[in-house]
C-alpha cells in the first residue's frame, strides 16, 4: 500500500527516499513499481532495476516492524495497562501547582467531586480533583534524595543507604495499598476506585514528608515537628474529603447523619485510611532528623 501512496505523490520521481540516480525516468519507475511490486519476485532478470526489489523489501520490512510493534504493545498491555497509566500522567504545570497547594492547605477548597465526561473521568489536566501519578512518583524520588541529603548532613551517608531508603519506602507503600485493598474487599464497598487510584492517594503523603524533612534540615527539630504536624493534619483532611465521596453512600457523603452498621463501617474505614497517612509520614521521617 505504501508503494501506491508514494508513487501517487511522487510526481517528481521520489519514492520513499530521494532517488537521484534516476532523475529522468523517475515518474515512469514510480508507475511501474505499482504493477511490478507484487510481481518483482517473478522477474529475476531485473537485477539492474533494483528499485522494485528494494522498494518491496522496504515495504515488507516496515510492515514487519509495525506488526512487531503491535504484538509487543498487545502483550505489554496485558500485564501493565499502559493506556490507563497514560491518563494518570496527563498533567500540566497549573494542575501540579494547584494540587500541591491543595495538599498542604485543603481547607478552602469546596468542590471535591471528580468531573466526568460521558462516563469516563476527565484527565487530571482539566480537573484538579482527579488523582494523578506524577506527583506521587516525583515525590517518592524526591523523598529518597532528601533522605540521602539529611543523612549526609549527619555524616551517616553511604550510597547503599539510598537504595535501602528507596526499597523500604516502596515496601511500605505496597503494603499500605494491599492493606487498603483488603479492607475494601472485606467491607464490600462498591466503588470505582482502582488500584492505581489507591496508589496515587497513598503517594500524596510524600509531599508532606518532604516539606517536613526540608524544614527540619533548615531550621532544626522544632520546625520539623511543626511542619510535619501541619502537613499531617492537611493530608488527613485531604484524604477524608476525597475518600468520603468515593467510599460512602450518597447521603452520608453529603454530611447527613445516616444510621446503619454498614455506613458506620465505611466511615471507620475512611477514617482509618486517612489516619494511617500521618502515622506513615512520621514513621518514615523521624529517623532522618536527629
Amino acid at each position: 500500500m505504501r508503494l501506491r501512496n508514494s508513487s501517487m505523490d511522487g510526481s517528481d520521481g521520489s519514492q520513499l527516499f530521494e532517488d537521484t540516480s534516476r532523475a529522468g525516468s523517475g515518474s515512469q519507475t514510480g508507475y511501474r513499481n505499482q504493477q511490478a511490486g507484487p510481481q518483482a519476485a517473478g522477474f529475476p532478470g531485473q537485477s539492474l532495476l533494483s528499485d522494485p526489489m528494494s522498494n518491496l523489501a522496504m515495504a515488507y520490512g516496515s510492515s514487519l516492524a509495525s506488526q512487531g510493534r503491535e504484538m509487543v504493545d498487545k502483550n505489554l498491555d496485558r500485564f501493565i495497562p499502559i493506556s490507563k497509566l497514560k491518563y494518570y500522567f496527563a498533567v500540566d504545570t497549573v494542575y501540579v501547582g494547584k494540587k500541591l497547594g491543595l495538599l498542604v492547605f485543603p481547607y478552602m477548597h469546596e468542590n471535591w467531586e471528580v468531573s466526568y465526561q460521558q462516563d469516563t473521568p476527565v484527565a487530571p489536566r482539566f480537573d484538579v480533583n482527579a488523582p494523578d501519578l506524577y506527583i506521587p512518583a516525583m515525590g517518592f524520588i524526591t523523598y529518597v534524595l532528601v533522605a540521602g541529603l539529611a543523612l549526609g548532613t549527619q555524616n551517616r551517608f553511604s550510597p547503599e543507604l539510598l537504595g535501602v531508603q528507596a526499597s523500604s519506602a516502596l515496601v511500605w507503600l505496597i503494603m499500605e495499598v494491599l492493606a487498603v485493598l483488603l479492607s475494601l474487599y472485606l467491607v464490600t464497598v462498591n466503588t470505582d476506585l482502582t488500584t492505581i487510584d489507591l496508589l496515587a492517594f497513598s503517594g500524596y503523603k510524600y509531599v508532606g514528608m518532604i516539606v517536613g524533612v526540608v524544614a527540619g534540615l533548615l531550621f532544626g527539630k522544632p520546625a520539623y515537628y511543626l511542619s510535619l504536624l501541619w502537613c499531617c493534619v492537611a493530608i488527613f483532611v485531604f484524604m477524608i474529603r476525597t475518600l468520603r465521596l468515593k467510599l460512602l453512600s450518597e447521603a452520608a457523603a453529603e454530611g447527613r447523619l445516616v444510621r446503619g452498621a454498614r455506613n458506620q463501617l465505611r466511615m471507620y474505614l475512611t477514617m482509618s485510611i486517612a489516619a494511617a497517612q500521618p502515622i506513615f509520614m512520621y514513621w518514615l521521617t523521624y529517623h532522618l532528623i536527629r
Binding site: V164, S168, V171, M175
Partner: protein, 74 residues
C-alpha cells in the same frame, strides 16, 4: 527498619502458608469459621465475617490446586 522487596515476598508467602495450614475440622469448625458456616443469607450485604470466610476458603482452594499440580510432577 530496612525492608526490602525480598522481605515483602517472604511475608506474602508466609501469610499464604499460614492460611493454607489452618485445619478444617479441628480448628475452623470449632470456632465457627467452617466452610458451611460462611454463606448465611442472600442479599446485598454479606458482612465482614462472610467475606473473611470466603477469602480463607478461596485461598485454600487455590493452594490445593497448586498442591495437586505440583504433586503430579515426578
Amino acid at each position: 527498619m530496612a525492608f526490602t522487596l525480598y522481605t515483602l515476598i517472604q511475608t506474602a508467602i508466609l501469610c499464604t502458608n499460614a492460611i493454607a495450614v489452618l485445619h478444617e475440622e479441628r480448628f475452623l469448625s470449632k470456632i465457627g469459621w467452617g466452610v458451611d458456616q460462611g454463606v448465611g443469607g442472600f442479599g446485598d450485604d454479606p458482612g465482614v465475617k462472610a467475606q473473611v470466610l470466603n477469602l480463607i476458603r478461596s485461598v485454600r482452594t487455590v493452594m490445593r490446586v497448586f498442591n495437586s499440580v505440583e504433586k503430579s510432577f515426578p
